[in-house]
Amino acid sequence: MEKMARVTTALGGNTLSGRTMFCHLDAPANAISVCRDAAQVVVAGRNIFKIYSIEEEQFVEKLNLRVGRKPSLNFSCADVVWHQMDENLLATAATNGVVVTWNLGKPSRNKQDQLFTEHKRTVNKVCFHPTEVYMLLSGSQDGYMKCFDLRKKDSVSTFSGQSESVRDVQFSIRDYFTFAATFENGNVQLWDIRRPDRYERMFTAHNGPVFCCDWHLEDRGWLATGGRDKMVKVWDMNTTRAKEIYCVQTIASVARVKWRPECKHHIATCSMMVDHNIYVWDVRRPFIPSAMFEEHKDVTTGIVWRHLHDPYFLLSGSKDSTLYQHIFKDASQPIDRANPEGLCYSLYGDLAFAAKESLISSDSNRKPYIGDRRHPIFFKRKLDPTEQFEYISSSSALSVFETDVESGSMDWFVHTAKQYALAGRPLAELCDHNAKVAKGLDRNQVAQTWTMLRIIYSSLGTVSSANLNHSMGKGSAALPLMNSFNLKDIPSGLGSESRLDRSKGESRTENILMDSSSTLINNEDNEETEGSDVPADYLLGDVEADEDDLYMMDHENPHAEEQEYSLPQEAFPLRHEIVDNPSALDHLQDKADSPHVSGNEAETVSLTPVESFSLISISHSLYENRLPSDFFSPIVRDTLLFYAEQGDVQTAVSVLIVLGERIRKEIDEQTQEHWYTSYIDLLQRFQLWNISNEVIKLSTCRAINCLNQASTTLHVNCSNCKRPMSNRGWICDRCRQCASMCAVCHHVVKGLFVWCQGCSHGGHLQHIMKWLETSSHCPAGCGHLCEYT
């Protein structure tokens, strides 16, 4: 308490001073109100009704208004208000529906003045007219608002909201006759005090009850409302339609709002439940409160600024039976603890980074953003010179780093997404097609992956060689033939990909398989020392029939015939000669130890690729057909993981879809789901809706599949009565009329309805299309020149 600041402010001769302090009440408070001179505060609750004077160091109890022995519900206050014109006048709203006024000038102990028992239900709010001494307004749970003239015994006028309970009523400060009322059903009504028959204006402000409202103290057209939907909204009432100009999202339902005096954009709020703090928001910065008071240990029920013209003192009462005076100097400022940095990637690889200005050293290279996409750009938020408050001190700098145009281009992604075939054809065709697509976009690695997948998965017996566009000659039919394909110039970062390549040596023995990547890197080194200009390179010999046990193959279905496979030409233009290797067996021993020793020209199938990559050959003997494709699953899985890791989730997902069941169980569900969501997200950011939908449809993940089933309802309103149509989309239950008639055939449209946005006539899609072939005018005869796109 010692370190707390002491504040003194001068207000036109009146001096306010004090510190953060509190006092214990005997019971929970429901509401507080302050006297005009800012020296006294009244606290009201179910079991308390007292006046305290605010001294320099402490609160001093001045008067207990609960007198008499027997408890009366008339003392059980839901709300209390102190008149701002007459410091002897108070009014309370009782939970039993009674409105009581109190005159402190009475000589007797009992200060109770008048009793109005007109409301049938709890009165939620009472409000004095800001300038008129005798005018009191009340709003009750029974849905009525009543205006009392304190000189009379009964209410002068009753206003019926025609909707649910009234939660708050507030006289406007600008207009003498206007008051605002908020309702449990989310509406706000504006009334003219002279016209009790009908409200002037009504609008829906919140979803669920509107608990409170407050007129702005200076900028008088503004009304702030707080609701159960955890929002504080500021409405501009100057226009004919109430316009929402600010909205603050809080973390709990808003119980009270109070504009901060002398600060145009500041507003204090407290919540109804769970959250006990009081926040002061700058409505222009709705994400983080500009100040926060954390003293209370139970919900705050009443807040009031101590003086109409002093922004530094705030009083609050709470369910924890304490009354506090908060000093702004002692407020905690969440902004100090916040991390004012933000980072975001754009679709095209640009990176935006915002941080506190002080953190970013001024850099001479930095230029203001002028649209040049090559350089980092830089924004600075100018401080508003009119900003007078010490709390808005942060300005931040935004830097945007752009990738250069070529590498940042994502065209390949879009093209690939559009052209890939994912289903509807045999696996081999899909793979071929996709390999071709990838090839066409110069993505050779991906193209190869597809090709390899085709070989791995569709070489199992059934694929007839005729389909496959073999390029290999059958030099000698008796000999096992080999298939070759290539991979060279593997960027070092992509090394693990090489595990894909099936060399004979790898497939023969387990331990070599394990070492394959290192082996292959050796290979690469080897080649490079030989000179990488030489296209041919590296060969893996063929397989002997009697070595099949090394393959751990299924002996039950031996293929009697030899089959040959080669890469399809369209994906892999090869121009090479095949050199048969009649003595492959001799070299097998060598190769088993170290595959690259087998680089013997005489035995090689030499493949000469068009581009600058070279080949690593794989031979497909007849026995390889019998390799269960499961055997390759770990490798395919690694490939997919590799692509995903590289950021090419597109390839991973596409392969996943194309291979379907063959690979699905190899990759855990969560990873799959993650890939799918990333890919779908990307597709949607590129607005490739159709493709993203196709992906969703084809996915086998339950979580992804059901994305399509969410929010599939289309709500339509009847064109006649403007009400929602609940049962069917074409006939209105209320007005019993068909809502959507076809302008051409005059029948009800039950399916696709297309209409012109200019004249809103329309009809069956087919009919309208036919009509527009012959005429450009509206079929309804309204004379509009319809345009359909």
Binding site: R46, K70, P71, S72, L73, N74, S76, A78, A94, T95, N96, G97, T117, E118, H119, K120, R121, T122, Q141, E184, G208, P209, F211, R228, A252, S253, A255, M272, M273, V274, H276, K297, D298, V299, K319, D320, S726, N727, D733
Partner: protein, 471 residues
């Protein structure tokens, strides 16, 4: 097949799965003992398939999502507006995303229903429990369920019979970190489930819902109450040709409502003390309930096993002088302000639906009373609602409890208190004895008010305890 055979709103479906179809193919189908879903309400009163399209749509929806239209839904179908809201809530509670796994939700439903010995709901959810993959071992009794669920027993007991005893210590005990501890979100779902099924049990007994056809032993196992269908007079009074008394009853009620409405202002003379006394009087009044003889222990064994401390029941508030729990002032913890805010925070969506459900039932009216039309029944509904809250110790400061006595005749009060506090003791007799000239749909309406008021009361106590725990 029997499930499909029970009234199904889809024409084509009914064709292939009706009871008749079953008999034709030679499969034995238990005969229905008596027609209709309720033992109290004649079948003719229940809306049939051809009903309004709105209701039909609703039942189809229910059928499609749950695989059956149970008797509860059929009786609630008398008030389609409410049924849709009720259905949405129950669907969310049982079948949509939530913190608790599905089988535990059904087990909690069983525990709750067992507290009121409601074998209908217990059987229904035993089936559902197995269907969602619950372990059959648990169904042998509470002692076979995991400790975590058994820990819920205490609060289940209190909420069912004396919700005012729920304190923040109970919440604390459940949430205390440990092996079998609950998370706050789980607990809130469990609390909503418990209160939902306690009050649904009230509805089941209050409307005399009969067991579903497929519940084993269901057909015919409904213990006939001493005054069953054959009882003379009951049919008469319902049939519309009721005696003079019944007619007079209605007229008197109308008269009183009019009087009360006109004399609102003149009530001022009543002192606060008097109001207090009136509330206490209603609260402590112990209404005589006919001794129940339905409780056949052998029949209830499958229900009993889910109950510990079966003797614990509703207890009338103590008379003046004795230590009584402090009155719960409705204004200090309302559903609209506090309950909703809390529940929406801990178990989103359900708050919205419950709010909607409470509003629908509170505002549901057809502006009719018995044979009169164009009547503002808001007073009557409020009296019933507040009376239910009153018997659970919740007081509205702004309500004159004298009205309850004026508007609710003694028989009705007996019925309401029985159904709300010890529903298992409901008999057909007390159902027929009150409001003898009223329509069955109106009696179901009362039951709906009762169900929701009771649920809200228990929920308010539970949520208040949670709030106190959190602060």
């Amino acid at each position: 097949m029997l499930v499909a055979g029970s009234p199904c709103p889809l024409e084509e479906h009914r064709g292939c799965g009706t009871r008749r179809g079953g008999q034709e193919t030679g499969i034995k189908v238990p005969r229905e003992l008596a027609k209709g879903p309720s033992a109290f309400i004649p079948l003719a009163e229940i809306p049939r398939e051809g009903a309004e399209s709105g209701l039909r749509q609703l039942l189809i929806e229910a059928f499609v999502s749950a695989g059956r239209v149970d008797h509860v839904a059929m009786v609630m179908g008398l008030h389609p507006q409410y049924l849709s809201s009720f259905w949405k809530t129950q669907y969310l509670l049982l079948r949509m995303d939530g913190p608790l796994p599905y089988h535990k939700r059904h087990y909690i439903a069983i525990m709750a229903a067992a507290r009121h010995q409601c074998s209908y709901l217990v059987r229904l959810h035993m089936g559902e429990f197995l269907q969602v993959g619950g372990s059959p071992a648990w169904l042998q009794g509470l002692h076979c369920a995991p400790q975590k669920l058994r820990n819920l027993n205490e609060i289940n007991k209190l909420l069912a019979h004396r919700p005012w005893l729920v304190t923040k210590e109970h919440i604390e005990a459940l949430l205390k970190p440990g092996e079998d501890s609950w998370s706050l979100a789980e607990l809130v779902q469990a609390l909503v489930l418990l209160t939902h099924y306690h009050s649904l049990a009230s509805f089941v007994f209050g409307c005399g819902i009969k067991p579903e056809g497929d519940q084993d032993g269901g057909n015919g196992c409904w213990a006939p109450s001493p005054h069953s269908d054959s009882s003379p007079g009951s049919e008469d009074s319902m049939g519309g040709s009721g005696g003079r008394d019944a007619m007079q009853e209605v007229e008197m009620l109308m008269e009183r409502m009019k009087l009360l409405q006109e004399n609102q202002q003149e009530e001022e003379g009543v002192t606060q003390e008097e109001m207090e006394t009136r509330f206490e009087l209603e609260k402590t009044e112990s209404l005589l309930v006919p001794p129940s003889d339905i409780l056949d222990p052998s029949l209830q064994s499958h229900v009993r096993c889910f109950v510990e401390d079966p003797e614990f029941g509703y207890k009338d508030f103590t008379r003046r002088g004795e230590q009584a729990p402090p009155t719960f002032h409705a204004q200090d913890y309302t559903w609209e302000d506090h309950g909703f805010s809390l529940i929406n925070r801990l178990y989103p969506d359900v708050g919205q639906l419950l709010d909607e459900k409470f509003q629908v039932v509170y505002n549901l009216t057809y502006n009719t009373i018995a044979m009169h039309c164009g009547v503002d029944t808001s007073m009557l509904r409020r009296a019933i609602w507040n009376y239910v809250h009153c018997v659970f110790g919740i007081r509205y400061d702004d309500y004159d409890y004298g009205e309850v006595n004026q508007l609710l005749e003694r028989n009705l009060k007996i019925y309401i208190k029985t159904v709300a506090c010890y529903p298992e003791k409901t008999t057909k007799q007390i159902y027929t004895q009150f409001w003898r000239h009223f329509k069955h749909s109106e009696k179901v309406h009362i039951n709906l008010l009762l169900l929701e008021a009771r649920m809200q009361a228990a929920l308010l106590y539970a949520l208040r305890a949670v709030t106190r725990y959190m602060t």
